[in-house]
């Protein structure tokens, strides 16, 4: 079973995403911050990371740069409520950028693409 590390500081996102992604047959692990995500990478060895940007402490973009520094081939999907972070060229290190929506079809398609 493919493992996904979901990084977001909002519990409601974890509840929603976990349910939908588990239904798709993925094993979902959670982290609530960039720092926690970096710690869990080594323990879980996920196949893909879904990463929020606007988080207290280490934000998603700084976490992305650290993740890609040590795991350049690990797919990372940025998931943010804000379009404007796209203007930050550091987001280019990600493999996809999905704007958060109640409809997860776009996110699920991106996950499927990067895990196939």
């Amino acid at each position: 079973m493919k493992k996904i590390l979901l990084v977001d500081d909002e519990d409601s996102i974890h509840l929603l995403y976990r349910e939908e992604l588990e239904e798709e047959g993925y094993e979902v692990h959670s982290a609530l911050s960039g720092e926690e995500a970096l710690g869990k990478l080594k323990i879980i060895s996920p196949d893909l990371v879904i990463l929020d940007i606007n988080m207290p402490g280490m934000n998603g973009i700084d976490a992305l740069r650290q993740i890609k520094e040590s795991n350049p081939n690990l797919p990372v999907i940025l998931s943010s409520a804000y379009q404007e972070f796209k203007q930050d060229l550091s987001t280019w290190a990600s493999d996809d950028y999905i704007v958060k929506s109640a409809n997860l079809d776009e996110l699920k398609a991106a996950v499927k693409k990067h895990l196939s």
């Binding site: 973009i61 700084d62 992305l64 740069r65 650290q66 993740i67 890609k68 520094e69 350049p72 796209k86 203007q87 930050d88 060229l89 550091s90 987001t91 280019w92 290190a93 950028y97």
Partner: protein, 333 residues
């Protein structure tokens, strides 16, 4: 006494509040924090960017999208406007709209992550300017586009999120308001005096010398009479020319030399100052315009744009351009 000054081209007013008596050393510049970690613009990471649309290399047989480049231009991975599609211009009552068609590209100016544009030697800076020309020329063949805006943000305060030196271009299906204002203002002056206002400015600044920052045989750098920002500089070709892409090789050499000199002078006055620069040139595919004159505008980011500026369109500048020019001229580089 503060002074209100009017930009002679577009009529924008600014306030010189010189009694605040600022010197270059009075500006507190936040040190650029190095974020570290993975950089998508560095050599070896070419697979994290869209395929390059232009590159310059010292190696003749370098494969595309591999290391070994000196300059690399790539489409923006997450562009503000998209290249595919039709404009589909339409009205919605009195409102106008069209599809968000455009090209958004990033010019990676050096393979060295830690090298700043300011410290590129002229012999390498020239490649950046040639890349601008080559991309404008290529995008100008697309009839959907009216204008290519070239700009650079340096430092977080000026909007740069990634420290690896780069500039950007956006090809637009419409003329930006700023360029329209310059075209209208310069045409109005030309209709009245039958002279290019920029050529007149160049003549006056060379004669008066008080706002002159640097000059060489082909270019002049000045602190404009009504600058929005402290230490704002404009670089203009001395010989009348409305379009950047019509520049010959001698001009590229001279442009690189004066640009490098200006950036080093600015850095000497205010080390590591965040800044933006923007290329202003005639619209794509326009014939040579007698009333318009291409130029670069360099704007250090030293003041806040807040309610008054948004509301009035005025800018408050604590350093008169005459003083700024003197500081810049006196800087030892």
């Amino acid at each position: 006494m503060p002074e209100l000054r009017k930009d002679p081209i577009i009529g924008r007013w600014i306030i010189i509040s010189a009694e605040r008596g600022k010197r270059p050393t009075d500006f507190i510049i936040e040190k650029n924090s190095v974020r570290g970690g993975f950089c998508p613009l560095c050599p070896g990471n070419e697979n994290t960017t869209p395929p390059e649309v232009l590159s310059y290399s010292n190696t003749a047989d370098r494969p595309s999208n591999k290391p070994g480049w000196e300059i690399r231009v790539v489409p923006n991975k997450y562009p503000a406007l998209i290249i595919e599609g039709d404009l589909n211009k339409e009205g919605e009552g009195l409102y106008d709209k069209m599809n968000g068609i455009g090209a958004h590209e990033v010019i990676i100016e050096t393979p060295d992550h830690n090298e700043t544009f300011t410290h590129l030697p002229p012999a390498r800076m020239i490649r950046v300017f040639r890349a601008y020309r080559d991309r404008i020329t290529d995008l100008g063949k697309d009839p959907r586009f009216s204008y290519v805006m070239i700009f650079k943000n340096y430092g977080a305060a000026a909007g740069a999120s990634l420290e690896h030196s780069h500039s950007q271009l956006i090809a637009l299906p419409i003329l930006p308001r700023m360029i329209t204002s310059e075209l209208e203002g310069s045409l109005s002056y030309y209709s009245y005096k039958e002279r290019c206002i920029f050529c007149d400015i160049i003549r006056q600044e060379i004669n008066q010398k008080i706002r002159l920052v640097a000059q060489n045989e082909l270019f002049i750098a000045i602190a404009p009479y009504a600058p929005r920002s402290p230490f704002e500089m404009w670089i203009l070709p001395k010989k009348h020319s409305s379009s950047y892409i019509s520049m010959d090789e001698n001009h590229f050499v001279a442009l690189s030399e004066i640009f490098s000199e200006c950036m080093l002078r600015l850095d000497k006055c205010i080390p590591n100052v965040p800044y933006n620069f923007v290329l202003h040139s005639a619209p794509l595919r326009s014939d040579s315009l007698s009333h318009y004159h291409w130029h670069f505008e360099i704007m250090p980011k030293l003041t806040m744009i807040a309610g008054f500026e948004w509301g009035s369109g005025f800018y408050i500048n604590p350093i008169p351009p005459e003083e700024a020019a003197r500081y810049l001229r006196d800087a030892e580089i």
